[in-house]
């Protein structure tokens, strides 16, 4: 049904690619993160829920066909539909059905509830192509309420001591999830980095309820930041952009923060373990729920996940993504930075 080509996953029967790495005639897009939604293809098919953020990423000229979740599309006799993936606003799994055989491409996904996007739905299939960003048993998420309580406690303590709180997280998805997580508990004003503000407005336009925010750049000169929460992309960490906030504490919200070495190396004050990807137990539970007998593993800890599944009697295969290495990738500025939580 699908093959791996120079440009990524390809469906020969219907002549389309999924999240292609280079321009193609027809691209089906799982979500708007930079390493999944690339410029330059002639036609795109994507979820209606993610329309705004995808437009922001691909530009006004892109030719995008939008479909609702679950709405079938016939492409050259192959039945294609998009299923919610729970990763970010508009994120989708791609379900492909042809001559009675069903394949599902997960894209990036998480199964934890997230008020900023439609919840993940497990879909029965014969072959499941899964991501494996956090595919090791050390990656197990505590209930997210605990993480948000920690984050709010940190903000409260900083505010009490007259400091600003700067939390860094991926500008599309993580930033809005943080904002939604503090909704109703605002301890002080909430400000954003420009890269975050625009996408946050896209989320609001799509009907997601978020606290009021102001872009730092739009604030009058002399604004005092003590007590405020500033949501910024990872590239802001350690940059001179932070100087304007005076006394502040920095934090990073990412699944990578589960490991002490990753926290320490960033030289940030705090690391909050908050991921938009499945953890190990949910990854295994999801594969189980799809009923798939064959699993292709991509994007992350491919080899260990495949071997673990093989030992449990599944047929597996690994797909090298264009991004090599453990968790390597790019952040919002497009600069390769080692181990950001991408996509």
């Amino acid at each position: 049904m699908l093959t791996v080509t120079q440009s990524g996953l390809y469906c020969p029967a219907a002549d389309f690619y999924i999240d292609p790495w280079s321009p193609v005639d027809r691209a089906v897009i799982t979500h708007a993160h930079g390493d999944h939604a690339r410029w330059g293809s002639r036609r795109y098919l994507a979820s209606r829920a993610g329309e705004r953020v995808l437009r922001t990423r691909l530009g006004p000229e892109a030719n995008i066909e939008l479909v609702d979740y679950g709405e079938p599309v016939n492409i050259n006799g192959v039945n294609v539909s998009l299923i919610p993936a729970g990763h970010i606003l508009g994120s989708a799994q791609v379900r492909i059905e042809h001559r009675g055989e069903v394949w599902v491409v997960s894209g990036d996904y998480k199964t934890e509830p997230d008020p900023t996007c439609a919840p993940f739905e497990a879909e029965r299939c014969h072959t499941f192509i899964t991501e494996s960003t956090f595919g090791l048993p050390i990656y197990t998420w505590r209930p997210q309420r605990e993480t948000f309580d920690e984050l709010l406690g940190w903000w409260r303590d900083n505010a009490a001591e007259g400091r600003a709180s700067v939390v860094c997280g991926y500008a599309l998805g993580k930033a809005q999830r943080i904002l939604a997580g503090v909704l109703g508990n605002e301890i002080g004003p909430v400000y954003t980095h420009g890269a975050v503000e625009r996408l946050t407005q896209d989320y609001r336009d799509a009907g997601v309820e978020l606290p009021a925010t102001t872009a730092v750049a739009a604030l009058p000169k002399g604004t005092r930041f003590a007590g405020s929460l500033i949501v910024a992309p990872p590239s802001a960490a350690g940059s001179t952009w932070l100087r304007r906030f005076g006394d502040h504490s920095t934090a990073f919200a990412s699944g990578w923060m589960r490991v002490r070495g990753a926290r320490r190396r960033r030289a940030l004050d705090r690391g909050f373990v908050l991921s938009d990807h499945v953890d190990w137990p949910s990854l295994m539970a999801t594969i189980d729920a799809t009923g798939a007998e064959c699993v292709w593993v991509t994007h992350g800890y491919r080899e260990p996940v495949a071997r673990y599944l093989e030992e449990r009697g599944l047929r597996t295969s690994t797909i090298a993504s264009q991004w090599e290495g453990e968790g390597e990738g790019e952040d919002d500025t497009g600069v390769a930075t080692g181990e950001e939580e991408t996509s």
Binding site: L136, P137, I138, V259, R265, D269, Y301
Partner: protein, 539 residues
């Protein structure tokens, strides 16, 4: 244990010395003396005896979490620390929302009732006790538990910082607390009370003087004026220390403010001959038959908890003494250097009658002209010195680092251009990046590895290099990657000697990366002959 875990997390999260001291001081103020005592004990590097090997814990964790061994090893590679890997693979403790709140079990109860008894248990009993603790603890607490019971607990604070925090919490002077902590105290409520007691008569006797430190010479020699105004000595590469003899007892203080008396029994024995009320300043050097041994020998000694007769015989130490700060109880620091030196030479004059030359006056290097100084400095490696010290003859013994009257003038480090051939991930803070590199020089058409280096690159360079390494791996052996021999680095090191144990036949001391030579092709790196010539030149 919860508040100790919070303290650990606070200390771990910051690189600021001030914040660390503040966090500890706050803990010492709010904790009970019994808990604070154990916190001091562990933070200052104390370890309980008879511990459980970490590999045994790993086996239990694999059973408990049902993670196969190979997957555990994969996880370990990603984490870089075994005790942490164990804490992370264990199933997360889930507390039902309606569970009654559990009171905090104090640190001293954990240590005294749960940790110390492990030493007396059979392996099966240990296993039950450890599994029970894992089920009760979560997150950071579980990690700390693993570290404590395997004797590997450490957090980025020195004994000196603990002393500073205790001083801040109690108002007792740092020197007094350092004296008490360096002696024999027991981690009990009473022991803690004695550490921070305000009556300081007990500590006055041991107190060292603040060390006077030299600045690196930055000007041309003639700018210092006439050479006759200066005294030149070798700059020794040992451990700077003060030996204090007062009240019939001896105290040895390192420059870091640690009391290290126990580490140097031969100095303690020889110091009995010093008159009461003496304070010597000098360098503890590995020393045999009148000459210095390589610093690496001293490192062998420093690394040991117990000093057996073998190591004491193989690596004896001497105090190469260059200053006298107190004589007959009188503070000499405001006397000019020449006068202090005269008194020092008189004091140590009968050195030859002492059995093993334990206190040696640091030789004065005769320098009639600045050209002499240049020649002497260039020859310093022959004596295992790392350069020259230039001290103004009329200088007083100041406090801390002051510019003007004491200069250190180190020889340039050795350096060669070499190519990186292996890389592996670091540990701890650097566990996810390749930060440990092996370098080779050319030997005909072959490359011979000769040094490993871990430091010298910026974080940005490390990330760039890490990305390159992942894309240019030829082979993988576990965590080690054999990479294409392309990246050339200038390596600096302090010493070089023959070593039959190394494939290259040479061993270098303190290698580090001086520069990433992106401008240099691998065809232009140095050869094994260059290294051999360096050895010959300094033998």
């Amino acid at each position: 244990m919860k508040s100790f875990a919070r303290l650990y997390a606070d200390l771990d999260a910051t690189t600021s010395t001030n914040r660390k001291v503040a966090a500890m001081s706050e803990y010492f103020t709010s904790a009970t003396p019994a808990d604070a005592a154990w916190a001091v004990y562990f933070l200052a590097g104390g370890r309980p005896k008879r511990l459980i090997p970490v590999r045994r814990l790993a086996a239990w964790a694999m059973e408990e979490s049902q993670v196969p061994e190979w997957l555990f090893e994969e996880s370990y590679h990603a984490v870089g620390d075994l005790a942490e890997t164990i804490a992370l693979v264990l199933p997360e403790r889930v507390i039902p929302d309606d569970a009654p709140p559990v009171g905090e079990v104090p640190l001293h109860e954990w240590v005294e009732r749960r940790i110390l008894p492990l030493g007396e248990m059979t392996e099966a009993e240990q296993r039950d006790a450890v599994l029970a603790a894992w089920r009760e603890l979560s997150g950071t607490e579980r990690y700390i538990w693993n570290k404590l019971i395997t004797g590997a607990f450490r957090v980025g604070v020195s004994e000196q910082l603990v002393v500073r925090a205790l001083s801040r919490a109690s108002g007792v002077e740092e020197g007094v607390i350092a004296h008490r902590i360096g002696g024999h105290w027991v981690p009990t409520a009473e022991g803690f009370a004695a550490l921070v007691a305000s009556d300081a008569a007990d500590a006055d006797e041991s107190r060292p003087y603040p060390f006077y430190l030299a600045y690196a010479l930055e000007e041309e020699l003639p700018a210092l004026g006439e050479p006759t105004e200066w005294q030149a000595e070798w700059k020794w590469d040992g451990i700077r220390a003060q030996v204090i003899r007062r009240g019939g007892r001896t105290y040895i203080w390192s420059r870091g403010g640690e009391l290290v008396t126990d580490r140097f029994p031969e100095l303690v024995a020889a110091a009995e001959k010093l008159p009461d009320g003496t304070a010597l300043d000098g360098e503890i050097m590995p020393w045999m038959k009148g000459t210095a041994l390589p610093f690496a020998q001293l490192q062998r000694r420093i690394g040991r908890k117990k000093l057996g007769p073998k190591i004491l015989a193989e690596v004896p130490v001497a105090l190469v003494t260059y200053d006298l700060l107190e004589l007959a109880g009188r503070d000499l620091r405001n006397e000019p250097l020449v006068e202090r030196r005269r008194l020092l030479d008189t004091l140590l004059a009968d050195v030859s009658t002492w059995p093993d030359q334990t206190f040696i006056p640091s030789p004065i290097v005769h320098v009639a002209s600045w050209d002499d100084a240049v020649a002497a400095q260039a020859s310093s490696r022959e004596r295992r010195a790392e350069g020259l010290m230039l001290k103004r003859r009329d200088s007083v013994y100041g406090v801390g680092r002051r510019k003007g009257s004491w200069w250190k003038w180190k020889v340039q480090p050795f350096s060669v251009d070499a190519v990186m051939i292996y890389a592996q991930p670091g540990h701890g803070r650097r566990a996810l990046l390749h930060t440990d590199y092996t370098f080779a020089v050319r030997d005909g058409d072959a490359l011979v590895p000769f040094a490993k280096a871990y430091s010298g690159l910026t974080d940005a360079e490390i990330r760039t290099l890490d990305a390159w390494i992942r894309r240019h791996t030829l082979e993988k052996f576990g965590p080690v990657r054999h990479v294409e021999p392309v990246q050339v680095f200038e390596l600096a090191f302090e010493g070089i000697q023959r070593s039959p144990r190394h494939k290259s036949g040479v061993a270098v001391r303190f290698p580090r990366i001086a520069r990433w030579r992106t401008d240099k092709p691998v065809s232009e790196i140095d050869t094994i002959d260059t290294l051999r010539a360096l050895i010959r030149a300094h033998e």
